[in-house]
Amino acid sequence: MILDYFNIILNDLKHKRLRSWLTIIGIIISIASIVSLISLAQGFKAGVNKQFENMGSDKITIAPKIFVGSSPLTKIDLEKVKQVNGVKSASGIIYKIAPLTFSNQRKYAYLTGLPLDKESKELFESMKSFKIVEGRDLKPGDKYKILLGSYAADGLFDKRIKVGDSVTLLGKKFRVVGIVGSFGDREDDSAVYVPVTIARNLLNEPNAEDLIFVQVDKGSEPEVVAKSIEKKLDNLYGVTDKTEPFLVLTNEDLSKRINDLLIVVQVIFLGIAFISILVGGVGITTTMYTSVVEKTKEIGIMKAVGARNSDILAIFLAESSLISLIGGIIGLGIGVVLAKLVQIISVRAMATSLIQVYLTWQLLLGVLVFSLFIGLLSGLSPAIKASKMTPVKALRFSM
């Protein structure tokens, strides 16, 4: 029976091809945007969470609330943090975006000022799989020596930078002593590392700490230690929770914060997608109303030859859901391609591999069911109108 309805409709869709396609395009656009936005947002979320997993949960990060201008954190803060109960070790780094010049090309890299003492080294090595693949590591006593992330060395500039080459950072010449193995992430791989004291001098911020990392003692709760650190710093500055210029975050906090942010982003994406599907749905409704008016006489004929109200309702609903489903299937394909394109472009242009397409069968199936539902919903009122026509009136209708 359903198949018979589709016979009737397909015949009809062929007849008014252009208008059907315009309506279908409306659905294609909204479904494509839904698919690409959601798959990218989910991919981003998965990427971020994976990064946090790598870091371990017994670390605390102290960061400025706003990452612009000079950091509110200083060496004094670092000393205070070290005194807090449960803190095994603590170390601060300089972290800024800075211009890097090589063979007359100027690019931006993440300048990382690393403390070179043994304690700090242990701390950083436990956070990241920091591996020198060429040359050597920075060592105490190094001055204008630099380590390059794998992408900073090979990819950022037209010419590959080798150990022994010279690069210019913040107007000073540095000698490349080593290349760091890839972390699998463009942002991290675009980092360059110099001794922290040199970085402070060049930036003219002799006491600054951009980020402070804390290793929590075995047996201490990261949450509790983080609270104590926060209290200590608050007392030091005479500030409260609201006015403090820094954040004390355990890794769990950090990943929760970013996930919360991602939820907001997803809600906004979904909002946009919702508006576009609304527009697409209104398009279907309009098309179906026009179709009902055009086919008034045919409705009369069908009723005269035995069609029940429910038959007419089903025919028009089948037509609107078919339009929407075709749009959904094509939109799904275009959405996936679009998301892949964004991924490729973001890797090339923005040097981050955090934006990854993440497709689940739930998303694919959900989108198809959703477009079917939209078709039914937007076709409902025209279909009811069609089914309620009285046969005699419909037969007398002429355009």
Partner: protein, 230 residues
């Protein structure tokens, strides 16, 4: 005395056009007997089509009763009525009323779709009916690829799709030239001979010879109701 298929019992129909009320039917009493060839005659606007729509259960009366096989149709649900219409009654209209996007075959299959007849049976029966009206070579033609006479023959084939006992034809020759009109009348006469009840509306007096009963309508009431002896 043969059985009554449809009975109009003091049927009136008033169209309310807001300012004016048009009394299309003003108390019609009519019994359509099984096996009759009944012609309804009358001037334009006299209420012939309205009367026909009542007989065919396409419309409901303003007052009075329409009895189909003795059942008052106003007591039937919409879907029940549609079912009866599709199974027991076949319509033929002056303007053919075929569905333009469908082929002759598909048009004839349509009434069977709504009765849940399977595809294969539908195809076979539609092909047979189109052969019967002489259109065996026009199965895949769309209505606009057919002549007026051919279209009306498709419409007759469609009216026969569910093998109804009652054929209602509202000026079936009205849009045809005399040759095509004669062909259509020949088919209707053959159907009558096979035992179908035929009710036909016309205002062409030359067609009265086909009928065995003629009802004259004027201004929504029956003037004369004559049996003819052939």
């Amino acid at each position: 005395m043969s059985k009554t298929i449809v009975e109009l019992d003091n049927v009136t129909k008033t169209y309310d056009l807001g300012k004016v009320k048009v009394k299309a039917l003003r108390g019609i009493n009519l019994k359509v007997k099984q096996g009759e060839f009944l012609i309804i005659m009358g001037a334009s606007g006299s209420g012939k089509s309205t009367c026909m729509n009542m007989i065919g259960c396409l419309d409901v009366p303003t007052s009075g009763r329409v009895l189909l096989d003795g059942i008052n149709i106003s007591t039937l649900s919409e879907s029940k009525l549609a079912l009866i219409r599709g199974r027991k009654i076949g319509f033929v209209f002056q303007q053919f009323n075929l569905i333009p996007s469908m082929t002759a075959l598909e048009n004839v299959e349509l009434p069977m779709i709504f009765q849940g007849v399977d595809k294969k049976t539908r195809r076979e029966r539609a092909t047979k009916l189109l052969n019967q009206v002489g259109l065996g070579r026009r199965l895949e033609h769309k209505p606009n690829e057919l002549s007026g006479g051919e279209r009306q023959r498709v419409a007759i084939a469609r009216a026969l799709a569910n093998n109804p006992s009652l054929i209602l034809a509202d000026e079936p020759t009205g849009n045809l030239d005399s040759k095509a009109g004669r062909e259509v009348m020949k088919i209707l006469t053959d159907l009558h001979k096979e035992g179908k009840t035929v009710v036909m509306v016309t205002h062409d007096p030359s067609l009265i010879n086909y009928a065995d009963r003629i009802v004259h309508i004027k201004d929504g009431i029956i003037l004369k109701d004559n049996k003819r002896r052939k």
